[in-house]
Amino acid sequence: MDLASSGNSSSKEGSLARCFQQAHAPVFSILMGWGAASRGVASLALVLSLGLSPFAPAVFADSPAPSETAEAQIEFVKPKLSPVRRSDLPAPFRQEIPTSIQDLLEMERHVQAMVGRASPAVVAVRVGSATGSGVVISADGYVLTAAHVSEEPNRTVRFTFPDGTTARGLTLGNNHGIDAGLMKITDEGEWPHVEMGQMDQTRLGDWVVALGHPGGFDPDRSIVARLGRVIRLAPGVIQTDCTLLGGDSGGALFDMHGRVVGVHSRISESTSQNYHVPVLTYLETWERLAQGENWGGEIPRSQSFVGIRGLDRAQGFELEIVLEGSPADRAGMLPGDVVLRVNGEPMRDYSAFLKFMGKVRPGDELTFNLRRDEDDLTVQVTAARRPRG
């Protein structure tokens, strides 16, 4: 389930439809994932040089002259990437597990200070009737969020900082395939901000803190902190046991350096199934996001659907989401099943499935060959018409 918190609670159909859209948004190919980590440095250089181009500010009616903005962007990109070393972290964070009260005390002091430093940069966002979260990563107000919060470029956004300060701004680009979105505060100001992390340093077992606005912005409560560990790294996604909820979408996952390493995206049933967009993707596609490009959702959408979303595997794709009540759900497909073939056609990856669905008509019988744990299963699913909305 994605984590947008719809302001209009009566639009059950609308949010459900959004769920279905999500289900059919393609995920990134493996290339964009961990294999790409090593290309980080090269991509950063690209971001730097492209930051000079004048197109970025084009969407802002009240933006300063392009040359000024370009300078501001150099300034913005450069300091964000000052190197950090794991050896800078207190020892317990570098161990497999804490083993003493002393370790726990050291972790506690560090987490408290880190949450205090990071919180002022985490904002609640309101776009249309949807609310979510975001994180400010530059003094001039660039805000990372989830694509399903901002949805499309050039929409008006209202930002609320934890101290109650509000600001206006706009949505910029979105990569719907991986659920990465960018926003910009357009009001003048020096905004509280945090740095982005270097994803190639993120490891399984890293301790992380999630900040955001679960359930939407609540002035009596403000920001909510959760601690957890990185429990899975897969192409295009970080999974943690920091529990998330609707309204957290677009909020930030921080490493123990206090840097953003992920952006909250979606959840599944278990409290250890919380998914975050890796921050690397924002850096790699910075210029596309900053110039307001909207992509990743434009694979021609089939009129038929079965109600699943997958993550690429070495062979086939693993079901990450099976929508409740969908044809796939009724046929007994489960998250974690790996789809190998549909109607005899091998499914190389999830995008192959999306392409395949382009040819499927509502009512068509589909035969899925699945692997569940060690067993091979065959499941019959009747494609339905995509719900409207």
Binding site: M1, L3, S5, S9, K12, L16, W34, G35, A37, S38, E96, I97, P98, T99, I101, D103, L104, L105, M107, E108, V111, Q112, A113, M114, V115, G116, R203, L204, G205, V209, G215, D220, R221, S222, I223, V224, A225, R226, L227, G228, R229, V230, I231, R232, L233, A234, D241, C242, T243, L244, L245, G246, G247, D248, I267, S268, E269, T271, S272, R313
Partner: protein, 352 residues
């Protein structure tokens, strides 16, 4: 050729980097090698992590009891007095024979002797002496601080961090069962909803409400705000005008039952993803929020800091991201009131 070599080196470097970013033991654990997952015992609340907290749990467990109704565990309790007084989460103590299990395995009879419905706290007397009462922390809990939930075992039940400082948690909105006329400048009833308190109390369309208990209300907003203070099952006395006549009535506040086949709204379905929630999870004068994943029956336990002092009383599993604990300062007040009430009652009984 040269370029090709550079490419190959880059590719090799990439592969090395990727592999380096996974600890080797994790690679070995990956199911059939296709994914790399952190072993479950190393999750935040996994057994290996809980072990680090065992000195804290060990220190506190003599002050914790398991409460059972007809043999089934329903909640934990916290010992507050050496002579057998404990507190727990009131709404989990259902009708039936109550008993307590101590850290040393003793099983003793227990009896509910006092209740604070407002904060859902029960005072319980257990048939045991020379117990070790919990120590309440003097300082307020800080966001990011560890919160340990000890049971009666050497390992804690669960751990988490403080997510939000203490705040008031409003109870679930209960209704008198009317629709108001929002065009009117004064609080006026437009419609009576069937089956709820207003209908039974005989409220009528066009009635004007002027008082909620002793509080005067003028606008619809003021009326709604005043009614927000009352929870499901409470009654509220309303006074106002029916035509030119003054009227007074007492209305039962209710939460309308969901219509059959109605799916709960999406945000509520999400909130329930990840486990069962406490029946009573709203309506506390003050509660701090922590991210410990608790089961409803794990409430009534103390929430302690690394020194083993209680920063709160676990009072509700409220959602996927939220457990609530009444902060120590409030709990101490509640205890004082409960003890005073019980003492007053026993004095009165003696007088008779």
């Amino acid at each position: 050729m040269h370029m090709l070599r550079t490419k190959t080196i880059c590719w090799l470097a990439a592969v090395c980097l990727v592999i380096q970013s996974y600890p080797l033991e994790a690679l070995a654990q990956g199911r059939s090698g296709r994914t790399h997952r952190l072993a479950e015992d190393q999750h935040k609340s996994g057994a290996s992590i809980l072990r680090a907290f065992s000195p804290v749990a060990g220190l506190v467990r003599p002050s914790v009891i398991e409460l059972r109704v007809a043999g089934d565990m329903v909640a934990f309790g916290v010992i507050i007095d050496p002579d057998g007084l404990a507190i727990t989460k009131l709404s989990e103590i259902r009708e039936g024979s109550l008993s307590a299990t101590l850290f040393d395995g003793r099983q003793v009879d227990a009896e509910l002797i006092g209740r604070d419905d407002d904060n859902d706290v029960a005072l319980v007397r257990i048939n045991a002496r020379e117990l070790r009462p919990i120590e309440w922390a003097a300082e307020d809990a800080v966001v990011g601080q560890w919160g340990v939930t000890p049971g009666i075992d050497r390992l804690p039940e669960a751990v988490g961090i403080i997510s939000v400082p203490p705040r008031r948690i409003l109870h679930k909105r209960a209704l008198i069962g009317v629709a108001l006329n929002f065009g009117a400048p004064i609080a006026t009833i437009r419609e009576i909803m069937p089956g709820l308190g207003a209908e039974k109390a005989g409220l009528q369309v066009d009635d004007i409400i002027q008082f909620v208990e002793e509080q005067s209300v003028t606008t619809n907003e003021e009326l709604m705000k005043a009614l927000r203070e009352f929870r499901d099952g409470q009654t509220v006395r309303l006074r106002g005008l029916r035509g030119s006549e003054a009227f007074e009535t007492t209305v039962l506040m209710m939460i309308p039952p969901p219509a059959e086949n109605e799916r709960p709204p999406r945000h509520e379905r999400m909130n329930r993803m990840g486990g069962e929630l406490s029946q009573r999870a709203e309506g506390f004068a003050l509660a701090l929020q922590h991210d410990t994943v608790l089961h409803p029956w794990q409430c009534g336990s103390p929430l302690v800091n690394l020194e083993g002092k209680a920063i709160g009383l676990n009072i509700a599993r409220a959602g996927r991201v939220a457990s609530y604990a009444l902060p120590s300062g409030l709990v101490e007040q509640i205890i004082a009131n409960l003890k005073r009430d019980v003492l007053t009652v026993s004095h009165q009984e003696q007088a008779h």
